[in-house]
Assembly symmetry: C2
């Protein structure tokens, strides 16, 4: 009797949920060319389809606790829809196929969690600001720079605004922009569309032109649970002693502290905080995105900081204010 009731209830809930899902699914904008799946609907539900006819189980690491379990159809393809809408914007995910971790062959891949993962885009209400539009476009330039302190040739990407090539007498401010833990120098362009955001802002007159420099923050050898043990000194040498002079020598920058900014997401924000509290002779503008804050105590502990630094920008995502789990970089309600 109990079992029967449970079965009936489950059936009713299942039907109610299915009725609430708009059947206007379209391929995610981050799919590989020609791939129909994964798909997203107008409410933010995601639907997956993975061909693996002989598999015992296929699950997706997205959509509620424990992800989304797919069900095999008669055609050998596993399909399933998230139990609810996903948050707007970019999500990493992967598949678990018979106990192994694989990417969804339908999507492009993006470097996060110290691996190239699948990605899906839930169209945001304000997606226009990061869309590829018919406006003048800047370039993203891959440079390979020598690093004596590490004995390696290292890669950086440099966004140059649309007018950079034409205004040969113009010099530009520079933002050094860091990715989060598990990511690398590709993240701000591939996942973050930083170049398109700049193109659109510039076309709309929303910002003055500047360069953005993105390099690997050497964040990924430390375990995610042990970030407090991270020693930023090695990256600080690469960034401040090697990359900044390289960029100033090879691009038309305004090569002084008042025109140099550093910002970062999550662990990149923590790096920004650690480095700029020491190197405020190098950076005048500071941005921490979900990566802690610079408190009045921090400022008091860094004599000269107050005179030198022009701007400290601190932001958190709306979900960070709500969540009940302990926060790596402190509770924004208390520290901001």
């Amino acid at each position: 009797m109990v079992l029967l009731l449970a079965g009936t209830l489950f059936g009713v809930i299942g039907a109610a949920e299915a009725a609430d899902i708009n059947e206007d699914f379209k391929p995610s904008t981050l799919n590989q060319p020609g791939q129909e799946y994964p798909q997203v609907n107008s409410q933010g539900y995601a639907r997956f389809r993975v061909v693996a006819p002989e598999a015992k189980s296929v699950t997706v690491s997205l959509g509620g606790n424990g992800g989304t379990s797919l069900t095999k159809g008669a055609d050998g393809a596993w399909t399933g829809t998230t139990t609810g809408p996903l948050d707007e914007g970019f999500h990493y995910y992967h598949l678990t196929v018979d106990g192994g971790t694989f990417n969804d062959p339908g999507t492009l891949s993006f470097y996060g969690s110290i691996r190239w993962e699948s990605g899906i885009e839930i169209p945001a209400h304000d997606r226009d600001f990061y869309a590829l539009k018919d406006v003048p476009h800047g370039r993203v330039q891959q440079v390979l720079f020598p690093s004596e302190s590490t004995g390696t040739v290292r890669r950086a990407f440099v966004y140059t605004p649309p007018d950079y090539e034409r205004n040969q007498s113009e010099r530009y401010p520079v933002l050094y922009l860091q990715h989060g833990w598990g990511e690398d120098e590709t993240a701000w362009v591939n996942q973050g569309n930083a170049n398109l955001i700049m193109d659109n802002l510039l076309a709309a007159g929303g910002t003055k032109p500047f360069l953005i420099v993105m390099t690997y923050g050497m964040t990924n050898d430390v375990k995610i649970g042990e970030l407090a043990k991270f020693d930023v000194n090695q990256f600080e040498r690469v960034l401040v002693d090697e990359l900044v002079p390289y960029i100033d020598a090879n691009f038309r920058t305004l090569a002084d502290q008042p025109h140099r900014a550093m910002a970062g997401l999550s662990m990149g924000g923590m790096e920004t905080r650690w480095i700029t509290l020491k190197k405020f002779d190098t950076f005048s503008h500071i941005g921490l995105f979900s990566g802690g804050t610079i408190s009045l105590e921090d400022v008091d502990g860094a004599p000269g900081f107050k005179d030198k630094v022009r701007l400290v920008f601190v932001s958190y995502g709306s979900r960070e204010l709500d969540r009940s789990s302990p926060m790596r970089v402190g509770n924004p309600r208390e520290t901001t």
Copy 2:
């Protein structure tokens, strides 16, 4: 008796093969950061390891006819070694896990076969020429250019040599370089190391500096068996009427026919042939890599070609001369 003999022979062959394989396997240089597998030994054998404890079968699309079947160990990981050495250089591959096509989570991915595939590098005897070295490095610049004929914003990558930024009064010849079928504008840098080859050639004094422009050849909507049906006109418009003028307007090029080359691999060579036989007022230097040839009959059929074109370079890989299967672009022994 027959069965026993067969079993014995198989055992002997297996042991002999195993004894011949040098146990000096190292992670492929194209692995994701920190990934130990796949590995390659000094003879060119590849060894794979894929974790999928509940899978029924895992095979690799590389290594002899039908690929390499992996065997599950007690730890839930599937391992296996190719039955022989692979050809030197870059190989695409993928896994088949319980009937589904997935990438090897150990490797970076590369766009080929109209999908991002796994890649493995068998160190070549002359790998020094495409290695990342401590020499001056050029840049790879992503540009987004408007295309009226297709109504899209399109991507190109432009290699600029190390001295491009410093010699502001210098203008440079340009090579338009096309990828093969199933690939895209990322191939010549990601798989082909075109930028590193140029850096090394320039450092050794082996070439004069020039720009390389790489864009998508619009090759991938045609099926691989139906390449002869391909209509190059749409790409020709994008390349000749839109991209060439864009590059000449936005880079310091020598913007005339004597300083403009086109070359391509495989189907990109076929595109090069089709386009340059018509547009010899645009291109003076032509390169076909495993992509057919330009015969004396072709030249006779294109009045003016002989006066305008300075160089036709035709090359094939050594394996192409040996193979017995019919060739899409003719037998090089007969057509070159």
